[in-house]
């Protein structure tokens, strides 16, 4: 039986875009006022990490980077059953693009220690780039599986002169699926077609409640680190370490703007009117 494994899961706190709070009239986000949530894609990464631990043994460490508030997502991860959390928080990280973020994360990963597997969400809902996972894998010189929707570890017969490839994954590609086998350590970005995150356990929720009342005990579970502690160079982080900048934002012009509203007293009137005014009927099955 393979295992146990040291598993890292990278999670991020993002603004909740379904809530109106903190959305400025010009469409930008006021992160201080916006409601905060765990990046939805990271829920699948958490599930993959916890499932791997449950199946093969080991420990799960959740790692996040963000302002002090981001400790909330680490607490949420503890409720779901991760063993400990590490928060990288430093004002000098502000305005980091994906490359600078991946640099800082690789430093914090090295600081936390040895690992067999790193799970990340496919992408975040506030950046949508899907770049940080592969960029971190490049920094750590790891093989990667992106768009992963199924993951397991199997005993693999070792071929002469080859290392074992115990990690077994299925990833989405255009028009199909790819089944891959990989050596460990490995970085995996998990797609939202992976299994849903299981509910928090009572024990986990109860533990986190207790920890929130005991800051001293909380420190045994969640460590906050800064750039100096993880020996990251400040000039490679934040705005300075970012090769890209957002130079300009435009309001998206209102295209068309000539929507014809169908009005009527009843749904049947409106539908009749719609079918009369448009050529929708031409698309009907014959």
């Amino acid at each position: 039986m393979p295992g146990p494994y040291d598993i890292f899961v990278l999670i991020k706190q993002v603004p909740d875009q379904s809530s109106k709070a903190g959305i400025n009239p010009d469409g930008t986000i006021d992160r201080a006022k916006a409601k905060r949530m765990l990046n939805p894609f990271d829920r699948y990464a958490l599930q993959a990490a916890l499932h791997t631990k449950k199946s093969y043994g080991g420990t799960v460490t959740a790692i996040s980077m963000g302002p002090p508030n981001a400790v909330e997502v680490l607490l949420e991860a503890l409720e779901h059953g991760v063993d400990k959390g590490v928060l990288l928080s430093d004002r000098r990280l502000a305005a980091s693009d994906t490359l600078a973020t991946a640099y800082a994360l690789h430093k914090v990963v090295h600081w936390v220690g040895k690992f067999d597997l790193i799970f990340c969400g496919l992408q975040t809902t506030d950046g949508d780039t899907a770049q940080v996972g592969p960029q971190l894998a490049e920094r750590l010189n790891l093989p990667q599986v992106t768009y992963c929707e199924d993951f397991s570890i199997v005993d693999s017969p070792v071929k002469e002169g080859e290392n074992p490839r115990p990690a077994c994954a299925r990833r989405i590609i255009e028009g199909g699926l790819q089944h891959v086998r990989s050596e460990l350590p490995l970085l995996v970005t998990v797609a939202n077609s992976y299994h849903q995150l299981e509910y928090k356990s009572f024990r986990g929720a109860w533990k986190v409640r207790r920890l929130q009342r005991n800051p001293e005990e909380l420190k045994q579970y969640i460590t906050t680190v800064d750039l100096d502690l993880i020996q990251a160079l400040p000039e490679r982080c934040g705005l300075k370490g970012s090769p890209t900048i957002v130079a300009h934002t435009d309001k998206v012009g209102e295209i068309g703007g000539s929507c014809k509203m169908i009005e009527g007293l009843s749904p049947s009137d409106m539908v009749r009117d719609l079918l009369k005014q448009t050529n929708v009927k031409e698309f009907a099955k014959s």
């Binding site: 994906t98 300075k240 300009h248 309001k251 698309f283």
Partner: protein, 383 residues
């Protein structure tokens, strides 16, 4: 790769009260990484060649392309016919199927062998491009912008004094334009300090050139030197999607559902409506995919698919910019939404404000009636 720090010529340009150095970089070529699945050239590659031709035209430079694979047949010639001036071809049996590390190795080696890095480097925002581009960008520590909807070349003045080494006027930047976080903003993202300036673009957005079989280009074979560490991951097999319903990108009619359908079961009603049409498919907004109401392959929008059906019926979709960029080029857009202020009513062609659970069943009913009147025998569905 040669250091691509811009040569700081001591030309000074007065811009208002600030005097900025002008960074006249040599204008480099535009490189497109071609993509194919087992020899099947992907349409996004031809679209990228079209975009690259426009950018290289503005720079006054050439379009390069690189393709990795095995037994590529006429693919290099097709790349030339669609706009490439030079095609670098890496053929090796280990490159037959896309794998991150071997492809990364070949492209990194190629870039390091060029006398100057390309000015711009483009990949598709596909599962392959989004897997490969970040690794190359991280290796060269250069900027990469994901999922662009527009690309251009233009000047940029950097006045932020936080990092004095970045100050200056850059005449030929890649403008990588993408919808940004928030409802209604487009962000122009730049990284003029280092070449290649990289971007991925969504399939279906850029316009390919018409193929010209007489077009002449240079085809150059490049060496493939893989290292043992490039074989840490192997592809066991590729499974083609089982044809369960029509592909979203090929449908004539898409019936799409958003958060306004309230429950996952709402898609059953939308399926009944879709059943009324020829070549129809079901689409969805990201919100409902995130909620697990419907699988990812149905997602339309910035992080899903770009579609151009003849008819798009949006049910309970608010029409955020992320959704709009994936469907705004549809022939006829009909929106049904309870909220009269929903952004979708700003760009749909026809709108109905109302409860979709009243409108959609009525639509289905009247459709069936029309068909009866036309003497079409109704297929019996047991819903």
């Amino acid at each position: 790769m040669t250091n691509s720090e811009p040569k700081k010529e001591e030309l000074k340009k007065t811009t208002g009260e600030v005097t900025l150095p002008v960074h006249e970089t040599p204008r480099g070529n535009v490189l497109v990484v071609a993509e194919h699945i087992l020899g099947d050239l992907q349409p996004v590659t031809l679209e990228l060649l079209g975009a690259a031709t426009l950018l290289a035209g503005k720079l006054g430079t050439r379009v390069l392309s690189v393709v990795c694979g095995f037994e590529l047949g006429d693919i290099p010639q097709r790349l030339v016919a669609h706009g490439a001036d030079v095609v670098y071809v890496a053929e090796h049996h280990e490159l037959e199927r896309y794998r991150t590390l071997p492809y990364r190795r070949v492209i990194v080696d190629l870039l390091e062998s060029l006398p100057e890095p390309p000015h711009v480097m483009l990949l598709g925002s596909t599962t392959t491009g989004r897997d490969l581009a970040p690794r190359i960008a991280a290796h060269f520590e250069t900027g990469l912008t994901a999922d662009c909807t527009e690309l251009d070349i233009g000047p940029y003045e950097h006045k932020n004094k936080m990092d004095p080494s970045k100050l200056g006027l850059y005449p030929d930047c890649l403008y990588a334009i993408r919808p940004s976080f928030g409802e209604s903003l487009k962000a122009r993202i730049l990284g003029p300090w280092k070449n290649p300036q990289m971007a991925t673009t969504r399939p279906g957005v850029m316009i390919p050139l018409k193929a010209d079989p007489n077009r002449k280009g240079e085809i150059i074979r490049i060496p493939v030197n893989l290292k043992p560490e490039d074989h840490r991951l192997e592809v066991e097999r590729i499974v083609r999607e089982v044809a369960s319903g029509l592909k979203l990108t090929e449908a004539d009619v898409i019936v799409a559902g958003g958060y306004g359908i309230n429950t996952a079961d709402g898609f059953n009603l939308l399926r009944q409506l879709a059943e009324c049409f020829e070549n129809s498919a079901i689409g969805a907004s990201r919100k409902v995919v995130d909620l697990g109401w419907i699988p990812y392959e149905h997602q339309v929008g910035q992080t899903g698919k770009t579609v151009r059906p003849k008819l798009y019926i949006a049910c309970g979709i608010s029409g955020a910019i992320q959704h709009r960029v994936g469907m705004s080029k549809s022939g006829l857009i009909i929106a049904i939404n309870k909220d009269p202020d929903a952004p979708i009513f700003k760009f749909a062609h026809y709108g109905i404000v109302g409860d979709l659970y009243q409108i959609v069943p009525e639509l289905i009913k009247q459709f069936k009636q029309v068909r009866k009147e036309q003497g079409v025998e109704s297929v019996v569905h047991s819903h």
